[in-house]
Amino acid sequence: MYDFDFIRPASVEDAVAALATDPEAIAFSGGQTLMPAMKQRLASPSAVVSLTGIAALKGLRDEGGRLWIGAATTHAQVAREAADSYPALASLAGRIGDPSVRARGTIGGSLANNDPSACYPAAVLGSGATVVTDRREIAADDFFEGMFTTALEEGEIVTAVIFPRPARARYEKFRQPASRFPLTAAFVAQFDDGVRVAITGASEGGVFRWTEAERALTGNFAPESLDDIAPPDAEGMISDLHGSGAYRAHLVKVMTRRAVANA
C-alpha cells in the first residue's frame, strides 16, 4: 500500500466536497474491491473518503411499495433484512463472497465498480431499479455502460438504490471455480408489465439484458418458453481460463431456465 489520507465525513455533502477538492481522492465504502487493489499497489489514491460513517447511506426501508437500500448497506444486512421484502435479492446478497466479504462489502461499491462478474448489477438491471446519486436519479438501463464503466461522473456518489418489487424473481449463479464470483449468472424478475432477464459474468460488455428470453417469458413465465430460443451469440462473451465464450453462452440459457424454474 502507498501512503494515503483517511477521511471519514458524516454527511453526503461533506463526502462530495472532499472528493471535489482533491481529484486524486476516491470514495471508499466496504473496501472489498478497493483494499486488495491498494494492497497490491494497483490503486494509489491520495485520500480515501470513507462512506460508512454517513447514516443517510445505510439501511433498508419501504418507499411506497418499492424497496430503498442505502448505498453503504452491507451485503450481510441486505441478506438479512430483505428476506421478506425481496427474497430473490436477499438470496443474491447472501451468496456474494464469504461471510467477511459480506460483512463489509456494500451495494453501492459493487454498482460503482461494475465488475463484469459482479452479482448486484444483475439484480439492479433485472429489476429495472433506480440508482440514486448525490445529484440525480439514473435508471438501471442507463447506469451500466460496460465492463467497470458506469454513468457516474467524476466525484459523483451513489447514495441509494430503489427496487420495484416483482411478483416473482430468482438469481441463479454458476460459480467460477477459483474466485467463486459468477462465471455466468442470471437474474429473472416477473412484473405485471413484463419479465426482465439480466445476465452477469458472461459478456465482455458487462451486465446485459437478454431480450429474446424476456419476450418469450413475458408470454409465458415457464422454463419451456426458452426451449426454442438459441443462447446468445458466443461472440462477445468472455473467454478465459475458466470457460470459453461458447460455454458461457450456453450457461446463460441454463441459468436463466433454472432461475425461471426456481422463481
Binding site: 500500500m1 502507498y2 497490491q40 499497489r41 454458476f174 471455480p177 477459483a178 474466485s179 462465471l183 481460463l241 475458466h242 470457460g243 470459453s244 460455454y247 450456453h250 450457461l251 441454463v254
Partner: protein, 787 residues
C-alpha cells in the same frame, strides 16, 4: 488393545494446543533487534536480457540501507542441484547455473533481479519501484514440445539445447518391450497431461538471516522441511560458510507439501546480507510472490501404451514423458520424473516388461520440483487411467482386469529395479468395495438418472515407495546426498527424555507420534518425552521430512537410539540389582530380574547414570544418551485401493464428488487419528488437482493463474465426508516398527479414481469420451461432452 497413549492409540496431537491457541512460533514471528527488511524485485517478463540496473535513485530513497544485484554475489556459488541424472547415451544431464539473483538474463516471471534492504518493508517496496531496470524482451519458451524444437530460443545460452536429459529406464528392457507391444493381442494407448500445480502451503515462505560478529556465526530462520540439508547446501555450495559457523532453524512450519524442501535464493540472500550489513535481514513472501517463486509441482505430458495378451494379461508397458523442469534445476527436480516415477511404473501389476523414457525440458517458467507424492502420482495416474481405458476397449470390468494382473507373491522383483517386500492388493480392493458400498452403486446411479444427473464410480489401486533408500543405492542413481535419518535420545537424570530427530514436522504431528513410540518402548508416560526437531544446533545431522519418510526412516533411527539407551540402562539396572545383564527385563517403566520380584524403577536407573555413586564405572561410562543413524535396507511400499463416486450435471458439466473411499495398507500404524488426517489432507490435494487446481501460463510466459482469483483451491464444501480405512496391514519387513508411511498416499491414489469416475459417468450417459485432462472443470467436461 493398544495401550492408552502407546502405539496404535490415538492421543490428541500435543502440538495442536499451540497451533490452535496462537502460541506457535513460526519464522515470521521471529523479529530480531535491529532487523532490516528485504524486498525482492522480480522479473515481470518470462525471458529477457538485463541491459542495465540503475540503483542510484533507489539508494537515495528514505530508509534504504543497500540495494543488491548479481554483482554482489560474484564470489558465491549458484544454488546447487541435489541429483544428477545420466542420459541414455551415457552423458550427464545439462546443469545450468542457478544464481541467487539473475545474472545477465531473466528466465521466468518472478526471477529475482535485485533486492532492496531498508528500515521498513514499505520503504523497501517504495525503493524497489525506483530501480531503473532495462530489459530487452526475448522470445519465451513455454510449451515443452516447442522448447525441444530445433530452432527454439535457448533458456540457457551456455547449454546446447533446452533438453536437460533423455532418460531410459530400464534401457535393457527397451527392445523386448517394443517387441512385446508389436506382438500384443491388444494395445491401449493414452496421451495425457499431469497438470502443473502450486503447493500453496498456508504459511508462505520466510527467511530471517542473522550474524553474530563476536563468534562469526550465521543463523538462518527459515520455513524448511529439512534445515540440515539447507545448512549443507547453502553453507558448502553457495556461501562458503563451514557448518560449525552456520545454524539453520526451521521452527513451526505451516505446511510444506514439498515446496519447502528446496534451498531457495531468498535463504541464501538473507544469510549473506545479514553478514554484509551486520544486521538481521528478514524476508516474508507475499502470496503473489509465492505463486511465482515457490517451486511448482507435476507438469508432465505423457504417452503411455499398455499391451495385453489374448487373455487380458498385461505383457508390456511403455511410457514416454516430457517433464517440465522450469527455468532452473530446483534441489530435487531431476529425480522426480526419473527415480521417483520410473521405478513405480509397474504399479501393483505383474507386467513383465516396462520401459520408461523421460525427457526433462527447460522452459521459461518457475522451477518444478517435488509436490506431495512427487513422481509417484504421475506414475499412478498414467497407469490407472490406461488400465481403465483398456478395460473399456476390451469390454471387461476394470476391477476384474486389475485383480487378474495383481502381484500376489512377495517379495516381488519388478522390471523397474525395485523389489516390493510385502503387500496384499486383493485385501485392500475387497475392503474398498465393502466400505464404499459398491454393491449399492447401481441403485444410486438409477436415482441420479431419475434426477437428470449422471453418476459414476471410479477406482484406482496405487503403490507408493516411501523412505527412498538405501544411501549406497541412491548414490549410484545420482543422489548427491545420503538418505538415512538420525536421532539422539537424551535421558535426563530424573527419567524424562528428549528425542532430537533429524526429521521435521510441519503439520504431520511428529511430536505426538514419536513420543508414543518411546512411551511404548520404555513404559513411561508420553508426557515424559519431548521431541525436538528443526534446529541444526540441537539435532544430529538428518535429512528432514519428505517422501513419507519420517516414521519409516526417522522413527526407525529413534527406535535404534532408544534400543541403545535401553541396553545401557539394563546394564546399570543389573548392577543395581546385582544380577546378570541378560536377566534384566524392562516393562511398564521398571527393570526386573527375570523370574524374581526384584525390580528398580526407570527413574532410579536414570538417576544412577548421572549420579554414579553406585555404578559400574569400570565397565560403562556415566550418562544416558545415545545417537543412531538409520539407513534403510529398502524403500517401503504402502499401497491401497481408492474409490470415487461422482455425480455430473450434464447441463453444466459440473462434477460433484459424492463419496471418496480409501483403503490403505500402511503397515503398522502408530496413531490412527493422525494417519487418517494425513489421508484426508492428501485426498483433498488429489481431488483438488483432479477437479480444479491448475497453474497456467499464456504463450508469452505470463502466469495467468497467479492468485486465488484464478487458481482454484479446494474448500471443505467441495469435498465429501471421506471413508478411510487402514485395517489391511502387511507390516514392512525391514524396519523395526513395520511401518510404511502415509503422508502422500492420498494425493497419489485419488486423481485417477476421480477421473475414472467422471468418465464412467459420461459413458453411462452415452458420451463416448476417452479422456479429459485435469483439472476436470465444468467447462472442460462440458466441452468434452459436445464431442
Amino acid at each position: 488393545m493398544p495401550k492408552d497413549g502407546g502405539i496404535g492409540s490415538s492421543p490428541k496431537r500435543r502440538e495442536d494446543i499451540r497451533f490452535l491457541t496462537g502460541t506457535g512460533r513460526y519464522s515470521d514471528d521471529i523479529n530480531l533487534h535491529g532487523q532490516a527488511y528485504a524486498h525482492f524485485v522480480r522479473s515481470d517478463v518470462a525471458h529477457g536480457r538485463i541491459l542495465s540496473i540503475g540503483t542510484e535513485a533507489a539508494m537515495a530513497m528514505p530508509g534504504v540501507i543497500r540495494v543488491f544485484t548479481a554483482r554482489d554475489f560474484e564470489g558465491a556459488g549458484g544454488i546447487p542441484c541435489g541429483w544428477q541424472i545420466t542420459s541414455r547415451d551415457g552423458s550427464v544431464m545439462q546443469e545450468p547455473k542457478h544464481p541467487i539473483l539473475a545474472e545477465g538474463k531473466v528466465r521466468h516471471v518472478g526471477d529475482p533481479i535485485a533486492v532492496v534492504v531498508a528500515e521498513t518493508l514499505a520503504q523497501a517496496r517504495d525503493a524497489g519501484e525506483a530501480l531503473e531496470i532495462e530489459i530487452e524482451d526475448l522470445p519465451a519458451v513455454i510449451d515443452m514440445r516447442s522448447a525441444l524444437a530445433e530452432d527454439a530460443p535457448l533458456v540457457h545460452e551456455d547449454l546446447s539445447s533446452n533438453l536437460c536429459y533423455d532418460w531410459g529406464f530400464v534401457e535393457e528392457n527397451r527392445e523386448a518391450t517394443d517387441r512385446a507391444i508389436r506382438e500384443a493381442a491388444h494395445v491401449t494407448t493414452l496421451e495425457l497431461v499431469n497438470n502443473r500445480l502450486v503447493a500453496n502451503p498456508m504459511e508462505p515462505r520466510v527467511a530471517v538471516g542473522d550474524y553474530a560478529a563476536h563468534s562469526d556465526e550465521s543463523t538462518l530462520y527459515t520455513t524448511s522441511q529439512n534445515p540440515h540439508v539447507i545448512r549443507l547446501l547453502m553453507g558448502a555450495f553457495v556461501l562458503n560458510i563451514p557448518e560449525h559457523k552456520l545454524r539453520v532453524v526451521a521452527p513451526d512450519v505451516g505446511g510444506g507439501f514439498g515446496a519447502k524442501i528446496f534451498h531457495y535464493a531468498e535463504e541464501a540472500f538473507c544469510t549473506f546480507a545479514a553478514k554484509a550489513l551486520r544486521r538481521p535481514v528478514k524476508w516474508t513472501s507475499s502470496r503473489s510472490e509465492a505463486f511465482m517463486s515457490d517451486a511448482h509441482g507435476r507438469d508432465h505430458v505423457t504417452r503411455i501404451e499398455l499391451a495385453l495378451d489374448a487373455d487380458n494379461n498385461f505383457t508390456a508397458l511403455r511410457t514416454e514423458t516430457l517433464a517440465n523442469m522450469g527455468a532452473y534445476l530446483s534441489t530435487f527436480a531431476p529425480s522426480i520424473p526419473t527415480w521417483l516415477h520410473g521405478t513405480l511404473m509397474a504399479g501393483n501389476y505383474r507386467t513383465p516388461l516396462v520401459y520408461v523414457n523421460v525427457k526433462a525440458v527447460f522452459t521459461n517458467t518457475v522451477p518444478v520440483d517435488a509436490y506431495r507424492g512427487a513422481g509417484r502420482p504421475e506414475a499412478t495416474f498414467q497407469l490407472e487411467r490406461v488400465i481403465d481405458k483398456a478395460a473399456r476397449e476390451l469390454g471387461v470390468d476394470p476391477i476384474a482386469l486389475r485383480r487378474q494382473n495383481f502381484i500376489t507373491e512377495f517379495p516381488y522383483q519388478t522390471p523397474v529395479a525395485v523389489q516390493y517386500d510385502t503387500g496384499d492388493y486383493h485385501a485392500t480392493m475387497d475392503k474398498l468395495l465393502e466400505i464404499s458400498d459398491h454393491a449399492g452403486f447401481e441403485d444410486r446411479a438409477a436415482d441420479s438418472r431419475a434426477r437428470g444427473k449422471l453418476r459414476g464410480f471410479g477406482i484406482s489401486h496405487y503403490i507408493e515407495a516411501c523412505g527412498i533408500a538405501p544411501s549406497n543405492l541412491v548414490g549410484q542413481l545420482g543422489a548427491r546426498a545420503g538418505l538415512y535419518e538420525s536421532a539422539t535420545v537424551r535421558v535426563n537424570a530424573t527419567g524424562g527424555l528428549v528425542v532430537m530427530t533429524g526429521s521435521h514436522s510441519h503439520g504431520q504431528g511428529h511430536e505426538t507420534t514419536f513420543a508414543q513410540v518411546i512411551s511404548d518402548m520404555i513404559g513411561i508416560d508420553a508426557d515424559m518425552v519431548e521431541i525436538v526437531h528443526g534446529d541444526t544446533a540441537r539435532t544430529p545431522m538428518g535429512m528432514g521430512t519428505y517422501g513419507s519418510r519420517s516414521i519409516a526412516v526417522g522413527g526407525s533411527a529413534m527406535v535404534r537410539a532408544a534400543e541403545k539407551v535401553i541396553a545401557k540402562a539394563k546394564k546399570i539396572a543389573a548392577h543395581l540389582m546385582e544380577a546378570a545383564d541378560s536377566d534384566i527385563e524392562l516393562a511398564d517403566g521398571r527393570f526386573t530380574v527375570a523370574g524374581t520380584d526384584k525390580s528398580v524403577a526407570w527413574g532410579d536407573v536414570t538417576l544412577a547414570a548421572y549420579v554414579p555413586h553406585n555404578y559400574p564405572l569400570e565397565d560403562i561410562e556415566p550418562g544416558l544418551e545415545e545417537t543412531a543413524f538409520y539407513d534403510p535396507a529398502n524403500f517401503t511400499f504402502p499401497s491401497g485401493a481408492y474409490g470415487c463416486e461422482v455425480e455430473l450435471d450434464p447441463d453444466t458439466g459440473e462434477v460433484t464428488v459424492l463419496g471418496f473411499t480409501a483403503a490403505d495398507d500402511f503397515g503398522n500404524v502408530i496413531n490412527p487419528m493422525i494417519v487418517e488426517g494425513q489421508v484426508h489432507g492428501g485426498l483433498a490435494q488429489g481431488i483438488g488437482q483432479a477437479l480444479m487446481e491448475n497453474c497456467a501460463y499464456d504463450e508469452n510466459g505470463q502466469l495467468i493463474s497467479a492468485s486465488y482469483m484464478d487458481y482454484a483451491m479446494p474448500r471443505a464444501a467441495d469435498l465429501p465426508m471421506f471413508r478411510v480405512d487402514h485395517s489391511c496391514v502387511t507390516p514392512c519387513t525391514h524396519n523395526p516398527l513395520g511401518v510404511k508411511g502415509c503422508g502422500e498416499a492420498g494425493a497419489i491414489g485419488s486423481p485417477p479414481a476421480l477421473v475414472n469416475a467422471v468418465l464412467d459417468a459420461l459413458h453411462r450417459g452415452g458420451h463416448r469420451v476417452d479422456h479429459i485432462d485435469m483439472p476436470l472443470t465444468p467447462a472442460r467436461v462440458w466441452t468434452a461432452m459436445q464431442g
